[in-house]
Amino acid sequence: MKRLIVAALAAIGIAAGGMAQAEDFTPAVVFDMGGKFDKSFNEAAFNGAEKFAADTGIQYRDFEVTNPSMREQALRNMARRGAQVVVAMGFAQAAAVETVAQEFPETKFTLIDMVVDLPNVQSVIFKEHEGSFLVGMAAAMASQTGKVGFVGGMDIPLIRKFALGYVEGAQHVNPDIEIFQNMTGTTPSAWNDPTKGGELARSQFDRGADVVYAAAGGTGIGVYQAAKDAGKLAIGVDSNQNYIHPGTMLTSMVKRVDVAVYESFRAAKDGTWQGGIQILGLAEDGVGWALDEHNRSLVSAEMEAAIEQARTDIIAGNIAVTDYMAQ
Amino acid sequence: MAGEEHRGAAAERGPSGGPGVPALEVVGIQKWFGSVHANDDVSVAVAPGTIHGIVGENGAGKSTLMSIVYGYYQADGGEIRVGGTPVTIKGPEDAIAHGVGMVHQHFMLVDTFTVLENVVLGVEKGYLLRSTLSEARQELERLEREYGLDVDPDAIVGSLPVGLQQRVEILKALYRGADILILDEPTGVLTPQEVDDLFRILRALRDQGRTIVLITHKLREIMALTDRVTVMRAGRVVDHVATAETDRAQLAAMMVGRSVLLRVDKEEAAPGEALLRVESLAVRDRSGVLRVHDVSFTVHAGEIVGIAGVAGNGQSELLEALAGTLASEQGTIAIGGAPVPAGGRAEAARAMRRRGLGHVPEDRQRMGLVTAFDASESGVLGYHRERLYNRGALMSRGAVVDAVGSTMEDFDVRPPLPTLRTANFSGGNQQKIVVGREMSRSPDVLLVGQPTRGVDIGAIEFIHRKLVAMRDEGKAILLVSVELDEIMSLADRILVMFGGAIVGEVSQEEADERTLGLMMAGERADGAEAAGA
């Protein structure tokens, strides 16, 4: 019902020629082409925004782009119609944020996964390698065969960053471990190809792997299904995906995009929002590993203790995890 | 030679409804196609046990009428009665249920099935074919005996000659219990001998009490076969007459609406030098089948050479090879003394045209015209590159419209509107556009294929006169036609093709239907006397 009212208000807004609604606080989020229900990156942002709406009763606006030129248009629309803070999801929106942020210096922009250096842009990037290190440890400890796998989405530096952290984590537990790595593809469709994800996972199982980590957006769904069908273990990514197949989901490398979105909205509302770069790692609870009722039985107390110890060590700087992109 | 002896007696043997009641009657039929009034208050009564002809020019509405009776179209008004009872016919199933069968101009047979399978197709009983087939075999054999319709029930239909395929169509209708049999232009694809066989069968059917409706535009057939005839023109019935009380000239005048010349008046030919010379030509069609082999002949200035033959004996491929649109396998073609290089397709067609060759193709809609073009565009096809029609990169629309417009006037195209879509002209007028385009440039050699197919009598007369006039100007004309009448009345010399070869040549004076017919059926000219006994 509230949404209807907001929609009606928005409609009046358009009729009035797109005038800004000055008084209300309106946060906004622009999802990228994956769409807000991708069960992964964009959906995490959606969950954060929903949580903010539930906690504060403040409605937010959102939009899913369907072609590249819409990114700029959507950001501009949000700014012009009075959104005080606009969260842009994904590195692909960097160029659009750069353009629109200059046009609207009063509007706050939060860009996830990429850096744009402007005073009214907050760039949020994650230390995915740290979280991947922890799930790499989990994989190595859970593996009976001494072989684990990694299925990436599109072959870009970001995903190699996931992979490297995972490898280092696994080797931290077992220096002799064998690790298979496959990327799903080189086009953006690699983010949404569960069939191929399943194929890659099965081939890794055939080669002896018994735990597979998918950092591949929607493609991961196929990887998890393949693990369930083969009775092997899989590790989710971005959101907590443990619930998808309880019993075969070993854990998830959570990247708290939801927290980033929530915090961006909250800070803007409270007036504490600041531009600049935010790097969220284990220390900031920006990344982590998921332990809940769905995977409790798969994680022994010993594993849990080891992983938590490593977590503390990384935060304290006793363990250095290599950042692929900083190499 | 018609079956006059049967007339009169037949009328008393109606299959139903008693004497005097028509077997089939249509009353006040109305049918519109868009703005075209295809049938305007058409009423016809067909007496039981007779052969009733319906004659008219193309587009007179006769096929439309029979399509309404057979249920392909619904009439916009009027009534159909079978045996005196009004019936509703919504589709061919209804027509068959009322004992009406139809034999189409284009056969509706499955080529890969046997005769028997074709006959039972669509009326199989039960789930297993076997019982149906054995019952059908007995029934088929009975029908064949009764009417002299000899066909091997186990022959594959595709391997049968056209005349026998037509018998299968007739058997199909009879097997479905047709008392009334409609035949739509049944003789178009038959040799004269096959036509005789068909007529014999039809007479036998009539004598057994069946009723036959024959749709045709050939007056000769009407005179030879029918008991009564209905003449249609422009969607209306002109008159009903007893065949015995009329003649061809009178029927033709009724069809056209004025008196027409059925013979072409022409002087004796005065042949000059050979303008088209063909030596041992062999041609394969597009699927690689050898269609023409070892054909040699010449056409001289000032003569019309006719090529007679049953459709499908290589005439079409010969014509296309001469025009350049089909590559020849071997042999030479010389125009005006100079040989033309063997080539294929478009470039050759263009080269031939440059050498002074005009070509009225056999199938104007498939080849001679682009029906989606307007008449002016169709009217320059093949000549659209001429300088007259082009101004730099652009075509000069004005020049094209003017040129084609004046040709349309000259060739009596109605309406003479170059901006009208080609498809909107009637068949005869489309043909006049093609003929006009090819003749108006006065080519030295003119190839003409089926110039009057689907063309009404008035236009036939016009086209024939034009051809003779061209001949008299000293042009060489090669005429290919399956209409024996046309060949015999126009050509100064007649070549007969059979199985891809020329099997005989006769002069116009020597030509008669019987001789030509035998040659068309594959008898060598020299054996014709003996075979004729």
Binding site: E64, P68, A95, D113 | S63, M395
Partner: protein, 371 residues
């Protein structure tokens, strides 16, 4: 019977005006019912859609920007249709066109704009034409079916672009597979900047001077198809190949020519997107415009006037649809796709559902008046 099979004569305004309008209206009615079913007010949705597309200067700019793309792809499909070919490779040809424009932008962007921009346009057309010419050549000389080959070439184009962007043109140290931004010489000016130069202030949008190119293409297309002998030959081959051969027209050459022109037109999408909007090479900028071009050509009856109107309609649907998704939370972007699909379904696929009946009605009335 043949003589009566000709087209029914109904007034032109019925055939080209009323029938498309009725089809469009039906699509809107069905779309309205669906919108009502998901709990939104369909009239409000329609209002939002129309206002979102033409309600304020920036929206008009975006509508015309989409229209520009659809004009290019619509014309591309249409020229192939005139030759009897179904070119569904507009997507890949547009992709390659963008590559052509982008190469000029990347390497010659420091030259003055009056030199670079014509070069980029020519290069985009050449690349697009090349990408369509190959399937055309395969069809003409080898008989490979154009539908199959153009689909394959869409995939090849996508693979090629991905390879080039991921491995070669990617800006170092960047996540997104995008090239660096071109120098200013390779920026086709935005229309709002052009207006600003004359002191007029219109909203910022993606609309750029490619729309002028599109207008020129519409006019040239008409002259080419109906007033040149190449157009004549292409149409002759498209309508009746046997007649074309008879008329001395080589079908293989007409097919290759038509496909090359088709690809060149589709390639201009690359001009609009790459040097017009993004000023860098990136992935997936074609966003399905090549496929929508099929619907545009179908609705526009392969005539430039119709294509302009159809392109405008789809421009409105795209821009208005995104605004609708923006303002009605229940209307997701997928709903907008459904809406566009309905328009395509009724105007394209089901086009003949009512056409015959309506035309007959009017033909009969015309007859009654005549009588």
């Amino acid at each position: 019977m043949k003589g009566f099979g000709g087209p029914t004569q109904a007034p032109t305004w019925v055939t080209h005006g009323l029938v498309p309008l009725i089809n469009l209206g039906l699509a809107l009615v069905i779309a309205g019912i669906i919108i009502a079913l998901i709990g939104e007010n369909p009239f409000e949705a329609l209002r939002l859609l129309v206002l979102g597309a033409v309600g304020y200067p920036e929206a008009i700019g975006y509508t015309l920007y989409y229209t520009t793309n659809f004009v290019f792809t619509g014309l591309a499909v249409a020229i192939a249709f005139h030759c009897g070919l179904f070119n569904i490779g507009g997507e890949g040809q547009a992709y390659l066109g963008g590559l052509g424009a982008g190469l000029i932008g990347l390497y010659l962007g420091h030259w003055p704009a009056p030199v670079v921009i014509p070069l980029a346009i020519a290069c985009a057309m050449a690349f697009g034409a090349f990408w369509a010419f190959i399937p055309g050549w395969l069809q003409a000389k080898r008989g490979s079916h154009i539908v199959i080959t153009t689909i394959m070439f869409n995939f090849l184009a996508a693979a090629l672009m991905t390879y080039l962007l991921v491995e070669i043109f990617i800006k170092p140290g960047q996540q997104a597979a995008e090239s660096r931004t071109f120098e200013a010489g390779a920026w086709l000016p935005f229309v709002h900047d052009v207006f600003a130069a004359f002191g007029a202030n219109i909203g910022r949008s993606s609309l750029n001077l490619s729309i002028v190119v599109a207008a020129v293409c519409l006019v040239l297309f008409w002259f080419f198809v109906w007033r040149t002998r190449w157009g004549y030959e292409i149409r002759a081959v498209g309508h009746n190949e046997s007649a074309a051969v008879y008329g001395g027209i080589a079908p293989d050459r007409a097919i290759m020519l038509a496909m090359a022109i088709s690809g060149g037109l589709a390639g201009l999408v690359g001009v609009n997107e790459i040097i017009g909007v993004h000023h860098r090479l990136l992935l997936e900028f074609t966003a399905g415009y090549g496929f929508v071009g099929i619907a545009v050509a179908l609705m526009g009856r392969n005539h430039p006037a119709g294509i302009l109107l159809a392109a405008l309609l789809f421009g409105i649907l795209y821009q208005g649809g995104s605004e609708l998704a923006f303002d009605m939370p229940n209307v997701t972007r997928d709903m907008v796709v459904v809406l566009q699909g309905l328009v395509i379904l009724f105007s394209g696929a089901l086009e003949h559902m009512f056409r015959g009946r309506i035309e007959r009605l009017f033909a009969r009335r015309a007859r009654a008046v005549a009588a």
